[in-house]
């Protein structure tokens, strides 16, 4: 069928273009946009791809998913969305297959003792599976739209009048969070500029536009100022499976200073940033960009004698974090494992 072949190659091109854009990584894309684009691509694969059984669909999504995540491993939202879709497929298949809603998909001691045989093989074809999965993906897209608002709605529970709040760099989620609280309360914000890209400046400009009293300071002054701060509110790039963070470079320093002064550290991040990976040898979360920002090329002579690095991300261990505020509410870092088991299936942790 010429139509299908055409669609197939067009789809393949789109995936290639997406992967190329990720690999180039020039502009710093918003995680929500990356997630949305990934979901749209996955929806197209489900809709137009050539598959007849759930098992084939899952393999197809897994292969495409591996291609996309390999392009830019530090963009973990791509992998997260792929895993969410795989879980959706398993659930829809289970529902059509007639398995009871309560049966636990996860490995557990209970399942170990009571299961009667082999696990699912996903081989029975169901014609309505395609439509069901596409509908579920549409629901996920709608959920994606509302995440920032859901997080911002919780602002008044956590921020009080006349508080001094510290943040670092520029996070759109934190911006929305603080703006929502500013509609009713008066408080001060101190923004650490987050060298070398100094996104903190942009954050300060945006906050001051809604009349929030903002101060910008250098990263080196974080510890010095911390004793006057009531709360630290930050965003993050990724939340790892043990409750740790991969956030902008400088966040670990901020977290340690907060711990030293017993200041609560609150992380505002939507659930699509939760990744089932643990920080291990094979982690590839680290991203290094041109060291031009740290030591400009105009410095000439000295460049031959030294090594210059410009890492983008930092690892923050779970002990330093007080609370995660996500679109489904507030949770402690020790509860992350539970949220993960609701979003992803253990067989999909390794794509």
């Amino acid at each position: 069928m010429p139509g299908a072949a055409e669609r197939g190659s067009e789809l393949s091109e789109q995936i290639e273009a997406f992967a190329a854009r990720l690999r180039r990584g020039g502009e710093r894309p918003r995680s929500e946009d990356t997630a949305r684009q990934t979901l749209s691509l996955l929806r197209k694969i489900v809709g137009h791809g050539r598959w007849s059984r759930a098992g084939e669909l899952m393999d197809l999504i897994r292969t495409e998913g591996q291609r996309m995540t390999a392009a830019q491993p530090s963009e973990t939202t791509v992998g997260n969305m792929v895993r969410r879709v795989l879980k959706v497929i398993r659930e829809e298949y289970g529902r059509l297959h007639g398995r009871s809603e309560e049966s636990d998909q996860q490995e557990s001691l209970h399942k170990l003792l009571t299961s009667g045989g082999l696990s699912e093989d996903f081989r029975t074809p169901y014609p309505s599976l395609r439509a069901n999965v596409i509908e579920a993906i549409n629901e996920m897209l709608i959920e994606l739209e509302g995440t920032t608002d859901n997080i911002a709605m919780q602002a008044l529970e956590h921020i009080h009048s006349n508080e001094v709040i510290m943040t670092i760099g520029y996070s759109r989620t934190v911006e929305a969070f603080l703006k929502e609280a500013a509609r009713e309360l008066k408080f001060q914000v101190i923004v650490a500029e987050c060298a070398p890209f100094c996104q903190g400046h942009e954050m300060a400009v945006r906050l001051s536009k809604v009349n929030i009293e903002t101060t910008v300071m250098s990263d080196a002054a974080i510890f010095a100022v911390m004793s006057r701060v009531n709360k630290v509110i930050i965003g993050t790039k990724t939340i790892l499976a043990n409750g740790a963070l991969i956030a902008v470079s400088g966040t670990h320093t901020l977290a340690l200073a907060a711990k030293h002064h017993s200041t609560p550290l609150i992380v505002c991040a939507p659930m699509f940033k939760l990744s089932p990976q643990f920080p291990s040898e094979e982690d590839s979360f680290h991203k290094f960009v041109s060291p031009q920002e740290v030591l400009p090329f105009t410095e000439g002579e000295i460049l031959a004698k030294i090594n210059v690095h410009c890492p983008v991300f930092d690892y923050v261990p779970p002990e330093l974090i007080t609370l995660f505020i996500s679109n489904i509410g507030g949770n402690a870092p020790s509860y992350i494992y539970r949220l993960m088991s609701e979003l992803y299936h253990p067989d999909d942790y390794e794509l």
């Binding site: 636990d104 557990s108 009667g116 643990f278 291990s280 040898e281």
Partner: protein, 304 residues
């Protein structure tokens, strides 16, 4: 009662003798399954009572936590299955069938754990381990197979020098190993990159019960900010919630023979200690990589 006692003890002893690699909980469950097959009773209640007696007999042979957790798990397995089928003979058939499936699954658990754990061992890592653990051995074997180079420090682990046994097994795998004194843990901790231990039992809070000396190592590791990893199969999860060392029952602390003689236990040295969950970084089990807080979730899912 003499006749009913003998078969599970004999099967149990025979298994431990013939296959030194088998976990004692698995041997216990296999013995209990054999006992179940031979049981002549007609009711679930009678079956449960005779199973409890059998488990008691087994603990008199080997008083470790693992046998107790294996036994509890088996009893729970019986209860869960009996709830589904009211006809006793059908129920018994299903139990035997599921029991065999369960045993095949748990025999694969060590490999699953090794697969999960070995990525956490970096190339060039220096690992500290304690006493002799077959699961840790399997994990290190998997790391060697994935072409990683690392060196191991093993504590001597008195009073039975289990560390020497571990060192011998590691040398066979061509891993550079150094045996250190139990007292030298604080000294060596600054050189070490991570600590990897097994567990005899994993308690509800996410803490572990393991060979005496484990708690010390965990405290030193915490003080020097080194990750403390525990590898354990899921059948070692046990329904205890000790708040301190005294809360661990005496029947686990001392060997079965010592308990039988009934002498004054204050003169005896305990064989195990309890490590609290705040000192543990991650637990690697066949149910996945768990943080200590996730352990109680698993136990609740099973027992409640």
């Amino acid at each position: 009662l003499e006749d009913a006692e003998r078969p599970p003890m004999n099967t149990f002893r025979a298994q431990l003798r013939d296959d030194p690699d088998v976990a004692s909980a698995v041997a216990a469950i296999r013995a209990l399954l054999g006992f179940l097959k031979q049981d002549r009773g007609e009711t679930i209640q009678g079956l449960r009572n005779s199973l409890r007696d059998a488990i008691d007999t087994l603990s008199r042979v080997d008083s470790s936590v693992a046998v107790s957790s294996g036994g509890e798990l088996f009893l729970r397995f019986i209860s869960l299955t009996s709830l589904e089928y009211s006809d006793y003979s059908k129920c018994k058939e299903i139990m035997i069938e599921r029991g065999e499936i369960f045993l095949t699954k748990v025999s694969l658990s060590r490999n699953k754990i090794a697969k999960l754990c070995h990525p956490f061992i970096r190339d060039g890592a220096r690992i500290l381990t304690h006493a002799y653990s077959r699961v840790v051995l399997r994990v290190l074997e998997a790391a060697v197979e994935s072409k990683k180079r690392f060196s191991v420090y093993v504590t001597e682990s008195q009073p039975d020098e289990a560390g020497q046994k571990m060192a011998k097994a590691l040398r066979k795998l061509n891993i550079p190993v150094t045996v250190i004194l139990d007292a030298a843990v604080g000294y060596i901790m600054e050189k070490v990159d991570l600590v990897l231990v097994g567990a005899e039992g994993v308690v509800e809070s996410g803490g572990i019960i393991n060979k005496i000396g484990t708690n010390q190592i965990a405290v030193c590791a915490k003080a020097q900010n080194k990750p403390f990893y525990v590898v354990a199969e899921s059948f070692k999860f046990v329904r205890l919630f000790p708040l301190n060392q005294q809360d661990v029952p005496d029947r686990f602390k001392y060997k079965a023979d010592t308990l039988k003689t009934g002498q004054n236990l204050t003169e005896e040295h305990p064989w195990i200690d309890y490590t609290s969950p705040s000192l543990i970084t991650l637990l690697f089990t066949d149910l996945g990589v768990l943080t200590p807080s996730a352990v109680s979730d698993e136990l609740i899912k099973l027992y409640l």
